[in-house]
Structure formats: C-alpha cells, structure tokens
Symmetry: C2
Subunit: 266 residues, 2 copies
Amino acid sequence: MARVVEVDDAADPRLADFRDLSRADRRPDRPGGRGLVLAEGTVVVRRLLASPYPPRALLGVARRVDDLAPDLAGIDVPAYVTDADTMAHVVGFHLNRGVLASADRAPAPDLAALLDGARRVAVLEGVNDHENLGALFRNAAALGVDAVIVGPECADPLYRRSVRVSMGHVLRVPFATAGLDEAVTALRAAGFVLAALTPGGDPAALGGLAGRERVALLLGAEGPGLSAEALDRADVRVRIPMSGDVDSLNVATAAAVAFHATGGAR
Amino acid sequence: MARVVEVDDAADPRLADFRDLSRADRRPDRPGGRGLVLAEGTVVVRRLLASPYPPRALLGVARRVDDLAPDLAGIDVPAYVTDADTMAHVVGFHLNRGVLASADRAPAPDLAALLDGARRVAVLEGVNDHENLGALFRNAAALGVDAVIVGPECADPLYRRSVRVSMGHVLRVPFATAGLDEAVTALRAAGFVLAALTPGGDPAALGGLAGRERVALLLGAEGPGLSAEALDRADVRVRIPMSGDVDSLNVATAAAVAFHATGGAR
C-alpha cells in the first residue's frame, strides 16, 4: 500500500511532480525535455497504476485517495493527501477530479515485440493534435485495436492532455514511435496487410478487410491526410463513404469508423 | 451584396450582435432567452449564409470579408469591417478566425415535414454537452443522416460552441425538438424502424440495418445512455461490439460508427 502522507503546505518540495501542471508537459530536467506521465481522476489514475509506467507519487484529497486503496495495494509510492485548495495552489488551477498520479516514462517496446500477436494495428502519420491523438487511443482501446505505431511527426501520446482525453487508454494500448520505412518493414515482416485510409480510396475495400487477421490501418492527419509516400507503400486504399461536399470527419472519428468496419472486438 | 461598412470604434452600437461573445449565448432580450445564431470563420459563415437562418450582420477583417464576397451576393446585410484589435475588443477575446456572422433563429420544421423523404434519422435523448452535440451533427452530415430529432433535455444545437464544433453542419442538417412520445409517434407514422443503440443491444443487429430504408437511431448520452422508456419503445436494440472493460465511446463517435454501419452515404 502507498504511504499516505498528509501535507498542508502548497510549497512542500515533495509535491514537485504536480507543480504548475499547465507547464508540466515540458520539463528540461527530464529525459528528452518531456514531462512525467500524469493521470487525473480516479479512473485514469487506476489505469496508470495498472500500466507499465512506474508510478512515482499521488496527490489527492482524502476521499479520492481512499477510493484508490485497492489499486494501491502493493505499490510503494507516497500518496500526498491535502485539501482541494492546497491542491489548486500546487497545480496552478482548480482541478475538479480530486486526485493525480505521476509516473516515469518507460522505454517503448520494439516494433517486432509490439506486433507479435497483434491482429489489428493503427499506424499514425502527422497526427499532431494532442486531443485527437488521445481520442484515437480511446477508440483503439474500445474497438479492439491491439497496438499503435506513432510517426515521429505526431504529437506526444503521453502529453497530459492526450492522457486525459484518452481516458487513460493511451497507458494501456501498446505503442511505439517509428518512421514510415521502419514501420512498413516491420509490418511486412509480420505479415500485415497495409490499408491506407484516404478520400481517394475504395469504399468497398474497407468492408473487405472485415474479420481479416493482421490488418494495419494507415491514418493521416485531418487536412493534409496521408503523405504520397504512405499511400504508395500501402497494399490497398480504403475510404469511408461520405456525403457530397462535407469536409472529412475528425481523424479520431474516422479511425473509430474504420476500426469498427475492419473487425472490432467481439 | 452585403453593404460593407468600415467601423473603428469598438463601442459602436451597430456591433451589438457580436459584443461579449462569451456571454452571448444567453440573451434575455431574445425569444426564449437564447442567443442569436453565430458563425465563426469563413467556412462556417459560408454555411450560415447558405442556411435557412436569416442573416443579420457580419463583422470581420477586410481580407476575410473579401473572401466571402461570392457568398454575400444578393444578401442585403451590413458587413462591418474593422481591424483584429477592434474585433477583439468587441467580442471580448482574440478571435483568430477573423470573421463572424449573426443570424436569427428560425422556426423548426414540424416532425412530419422533417421526416418526409428522410431515409435515416438520429433521435437524441439527453445529449447535454454542446461539443458532443456539435460533433454529432458534423458526423450526421458526413455520413448521410438526413435529419435529427433533438430531445427536450438535450443541449441547444444552435449554441455558439455547438455550431463551431459542428463546423456549421448543425445549420444544414435539418432538426426539430420533440419529446420521446411525439418522436416515436411521428416516426412510426412515417414507417421508420426504431433502433436503440445501447450496451445491452445485439451487435449483429447493427449490421442487419445496413442499407435498410427508414431507420431511426436512438442515441443517449454518455454515461446514463438511453432511458428505459426509450429502450422499451425501440423495435430493436443494437450495440457496437467493444473490448472487455473499456468504457463506452464518446456519444458522437458511437453515433458515427452506427451511422456508417447502418448505411452511410455512397
């Protein structure tokens, strides 16, 4: 069980992980200049505690920390308990979820390990909006996508806002960062068919992938879509049928439709 | 063509439609205490000008108003042109889209008129988040849903934030507000099959609706879902197959998956 530590001073140096959260995503003192993994609210903290990311500390009001007692069994980290006002002073704004947890980042699995046993994979290119990226991971988790390959020009999946919008699922769906060449090589070696989702694709081909084992869906950002190179490397180009002059769906929504259409969980 | 009027005083009373936008959604001086219809950015303003909502005025920087000249042909409203700083003073915050339009609300079509000729309809119960509601209308437009029935406990589709998140599609997809009884009666009279989307539904039944004419999808809010009464009134209960312990999809995302699965546009 976590060590519960009562604190009443917002300036307590032991609360450094949670200080000034609106700036906490970029920390020059951390590897790569990136922030810690931060989870907000009992649901997401619970997912963090069950994730591969090594927890460092919790900060919360007594009631929320109590709620998490079963999840904290066997986890030896400090759980700082304070009141809502002190918490607001530490994090820099009022946080209505009442509990936070911090964790260290962890090395990503290598691609071969990531793909081993995976049936459906999403491959993201240029998804540089943290909320879209978070929503996409939530949809991947809900619709049975086993792993995500995140292109180097995508946003950081472990940014605080991505974690929150994903409802913590970015901490559960395994992912690795890889460029297109590396991703395509690994996917082909693992026997995946590569399907590019693009407005120029074939709507019938999307349903044709339903139930097929080893499908990798290539998804580009709203607006630019997939690069010409990504389209070239794909085995098949698919699209979601859409009404006349409507601009495309949000990338996370399009991903959800494609995840469902190509199989989904049972 | 709109009458272009240069203004340089943020206090100009002619700009009242655009004053203090963060509070503009509730106006005691307007019918029902609701705000005007407000569109932000050229794309959404263009949709407003093509919609049934009677335009009142535009406010924008010269370049954006110029961009809209073709859309303003034959529309006799004032287009107030000013600089970005003055605009920011009027609306109360910096608005990076550079143009706004206001319109009056318009009477909703009656249910029989709304359903006449519609093939697929969404029926919303308790969707009380403006952004989810806006996203849902965007998805309805993209995926060929012809009309939306909005329950009385739903958020206001014409709230400024809903309009923005919908990318203006809430101004194009016809909708009416109706309670469950009234909606079910009208839908049955028009020969619709009523399908409730619910975690307790049959996943096979969702695909069974594909391509069928006259399908009404009943959708409830995230969390509570559909009421027992709505479930009782439905002809069929369908669900999106999801992975084990994952909390449900966002309601707009679930709607997109269901819209696609039940037919979609060609």
